[in-house]
Each structure stands twice: as C-alpha cells, then as structure tokens.
C-alpha cells in the first residue's frame, strides 16, 4: 500500500461510457475518475448529458457501452437498488420527494436499507423492530438538526417552498450515510440566501462526514468555489477536465458556453 500514498484514492471510475436514446447520443466515450472525499463538479450547457451521467452512475440508465467501477467493483449494469446498497445516494434536478409524507418520514425513508427487521419481526415480535426504529430515529434527528429544519419536521413536504424541499431531499440522501453523494442542481431555483446555506451544507457534509460529492450546478461562481475538480460536458462529450483555474481559461469551455463552437 505505501506506494499508493502519492496517489489519491479513486472511489469511482467512469470508463468509456456510451449512452443513447434511439438516435440521440446522450453520452459519448465519457471517462473520468472521482477521488475519495473530493467535491467534483459536472458542468455544461442544458442537454449536455449531465443528468444522464448521474443516472448511469446510480443505475437508472444502463449504458450501451462502457462500465463504472465503484469502490473497486466493476459494473456494466447496475440496478438503482444495488447502487444504493453500495453507498450511492442522490438528489434530483426536479425534487423527487414523497409529497404526502412529513419531512421526518421523508428523511426516515433514507434509512430504508439500514432497517434489518422484516415484516415477520414487525408482526410477531415488536421489540427489536421498535429498538431499531428508535436508533434510526436518532440519526434522522441529527440530520434534521444539521440541516436546520427542526421547524418543519412535521410538515408534509408538498406544502414546503421549493428551497426547503431541496433541503429535505438532501436530508433524505444524507440519511443513507452514503460514501458517494450525487447532487443534481441542488441550488436551482433558490434565492441568494438559500444558495449560501446550501453551499455551507455541502462543504460541511464533505468535511464532517468525509462524503465524496458529485455536483451538477449552473452557477459558475458556486461551482468554482465549491469544487476541487470538474469535467465539462457538451453535446454528450467531455470537452474539458481540470481544476477551476484550468477550466476558466480553457478555450473549448469558453466556446461551448458562448455557443461559438456550434454552427446551428
């Protein structure tokens, strides 16, 4: 092992991923590595394939070619359930919460895989199931405090403003105690104050829990502040990779964002 000391440990490798829908190539020959405990960003114009990339990583989409290696395990195809079991959690571009449930129960649903007791335990012998529920409740309460959402614990999430819904969704993902957290535009639709809060939470999660984070975000100042490294996608291809300074001065990136490179 000492030989590896100079190299950062890789938690996830994306290898030659190709994904298409009918004729539309959403991702073409995508390669990149994500290092343990870093905050990594995926940026690019709308329709570039960012969300599709996350969907491949957590098993929603199955690429036609290429594979994902997560914590040393090769995966050509992975089901979302398996991704969750292995420690991948995520949030969605258009908030996907259980609208009728309270904040508490939404976050509690993130404990789904941590609950061992099955139906029969619950039906026949309530004791261990109850104890387990209490232990999981503690984790959930900790997350609620961490995200400063005590006041909305009992509110059905459908009634919450968008910014808070995004925060609850983050809470649910955190409740899974993931090794890799995928955030799809966590700050979209937020005001400045909410964005600042969200940035702070992302940094705190990364520091306090050592969670590796992959972030899709449009706000460049946010991305440059938060992430150590990033890739840029455009029309399903990776056009650049590097740290914020390298990306800022990359001509291809500038072209993609200004639309120079595209004839139509």
């Amino acid at each position: 092992m000492p030989a590896q000391n100079n190299y950062p440990e890789i938690i996830l490798s994306v290898d030659q991923i190709n994904l298409s829908f009918g004729g539309v190539k959403a991702l073409e020959d995508i390669n990149f590595d994500i290092r343990k405990k870093e905050i990594f960003a995926i940026i690019g114009p709308n329709g570039a394939g960012k969300t599709s990339m996350l969907n491949v990583i957590n098993g929603f989409y199955h690429p036609q070619h290429g594979e994902i290696r997560f914590k040393g395990l090769h995966r050509k195809q992975m089901r979302p359930h398996e991704a969750a079991v292995q420690g991948i959690a995520r949030t969605f571009q258009n908030v996907a919460l259980f609208k009728g449930m309270t904040t508490l129960n939404n976050i509690m649903s993130g404990r789904n895989l941590k609950m061992k007791s099955n139906i029969f335990w619950q039906a026949l012998y309530y004791g261990p199931a109850r104890k387990e529920e209490m232990e999981n409740r503690e984790v959930v309460e900790y997350i609620i405090d961490f995200l400063e959402i005590q006041s909305i614990r009992r509110t059905p999430v459908g009634k919450l403003p968008y910014g808070l819904q995004k925060r609850v969704e983050l809470g649910r993902a955190l409740a899974m105690e993931p090794d890799l957290l995928l955030l799809d535009e966590p700050m979209a639709g937020m005001n400045i104050e909410e964005k600042q809060d969200m940035c702070r939470f992302i940094l705190d999660i990364n520091e306090q829990f050592g969670t590796t984070i992959v972030l899709i975000e449009h706000d460049m100042s946010v991305v440059m502040d938060l992430s150590e490294r990033m890739i840029v996608l455009d029309y399903g291809r990776k056009i650049a990779e590097g740290n914020p300074d390298e990306i800022r001065s990359n001509q291809k990136v500038i072209d993609a964002y200004l639309g120079v490179a595209h004839s139509n």
Binding site: P80, F92, A96, L97, F98, G110, N112, Q122, M176
Partner: protein, 316 residues
Amino acid sequence: MEILTQIFIQPFFDMIGDPILFLQVIWEGFVTGILYSLIAFGFVLIFKASGVFNFAQGIMVVFAALTLVGLHENGVPAYVALPITIFVMYALAFSVEKFVLRSLVNQPDIILFMATIGITYFLIGLGESIFGGEPKVMITEELLLPYGSITFFDDMLILQEIDIAASIIAAISLIILGLFMGKTRIGIALRAVADDHQAALSVGVSLNTIWVVVWFISGIIALITGIMWGAKSDVSFALSIIALKALPVLILGGFTSIPGAIVGGLIIGVGEKIGEFYWGHLVGGSIEGWLAYMIALVFLFFRPQGLFGEKIIERV
C-alpha cells in the same frame, strides 16, 4: 306522463312499500360489490406499483380457481390443494417479474399493457391444456364454506350463508391488506414507489421485489375472488369477464386509490342490483350488464379523477 311516473316515482314507492325486499336487493348488491372491490384492489395495487393496467387480472381469477379445483379433481385433498394453489400464484408472480417485467423496465406503459395481454393468453392456454376447458364446480364444501341460508322477518329476507362468508372473508382480506400497506416495511416501500418512483429507487427500494410482492398479492386476491365467485356460478373462463366490471369501479374510485376501489366496488355492486330490480323491466331487463359502465361514464363528466383519486394537473 305514464313513463315518467314509472321512471321517477314508482320505483321509489316500491322501495318504501316493501323495505325488506329493498334490503334484500341491497344485500345482493353488497355481496357482488365486495367482490368487485377485491378485484379492483388487485388492479389498483399493480397500477400504483408499476403504472400498468393489468389486463391479466381477470384471467388470474380463473387460473387460480381452476388450479384449486383441478388439483382436487386429481385426488389432492382441499387442505393440500389450497397451499399448492397459493404457491402456484407465487410462482406466477415470480415468473411475471423475472421473464416479463424485468426486461420491459423503462418501456412505455402501452408496451407493459400489451405484455399483460400476452400474459392473459398465456394463462388461458396453460389453464386449458392442463385442466381442460369445461366448466367445473367449486369445491365449496371441502373448503368448509357454509352452504345453507339464514332467514329474517318471517322468511322475507334470505341471506345465503356462502354470501355471508364471502363478505366476511373479503372484509377481513381488505383489512389485512390495509394493515400490510400501512404498517409493514414492504407496504410502506410500496407506497413510496407509488408516490415517487425515482425517489423510492434512490433510497434503495428494490423494484423487482415490489413487483413480485404486488403480483403475488393480486394472485391471492384473485384466488379469494375465484373461490367466492366460483361458489356462486361455476369455474370457467367466462369468469374472467367479472374483471371487466373492475373498470367502472376504477373509474368511480380512481385508479390510484385503495379506499376508492373498495367504495367504488360497493357502489357499483349495489347500484346495478337496484337498477336491475327497480328499473330493469322498463327496458326489458338485464341492464345489470351495462349499467355499471353508464354510472361510470356519467361520473367521468363530473369527477374524472374518481371519488378519491388525486386531481391530475399536468404542468406544461
């Protein structure tokens, strides 16, 4: 004027004039209705878990009843045939998930619907080739179901004991299923899937497990319905048309609402019996066959989302 009186006044006089007969009609409707409720419950479950309208629900009723009776005909005692049939329904659920749904995941709903039509014809073929196509008699007695009748009000109100048993069993099944959905982890996971597919998947709910569970529960419901319905008529492929009655029930109750399925089933069951009995003669009888669809159609105009269904607002 004569006809208007017959439509709008006479039937109500008849109801008030002979309230015990009216009660009898309501009871008959209730007994049918609770079976509709059960079938609709099976539909709603699968629809909530996968967005599929399961065309095979009706044939599952026949297939389950046929397996049970067929095993018994071949010398298997009822108390062994019943668990075997339950196991067969599990095997069916398992196979549907493994060989059909799994490979069709992410396909449009219409493809999945077509797949359930495929399953229907597969089950018809399989049932016929194993057990033959002739109608069979349900083994009511061997299953310890009662067959006498109880009378009230000087024999004016007659309740068949099998109907009472059917109602009680159906009611107990519905209560157990309700508790299962509300209290157990898998039930909660199922509700989560129904609420938001992606969210449920992202927290590690296994869709494959959920599918096996919902198809198995639907299979059990089909078996219960098949036994009860089979006891009233006989066990034949014609039985599968009662599943078509679930359609107006679902329109009434809403495709995603379990309470809706139950209430809708009772409304349709009672409604069509009352309609048949008090108004049927005006149009030459047997309006029972289509009245349910009429009720549902009228209802569609006023509440397209059903009694309990959520209002669907498409954002564009």
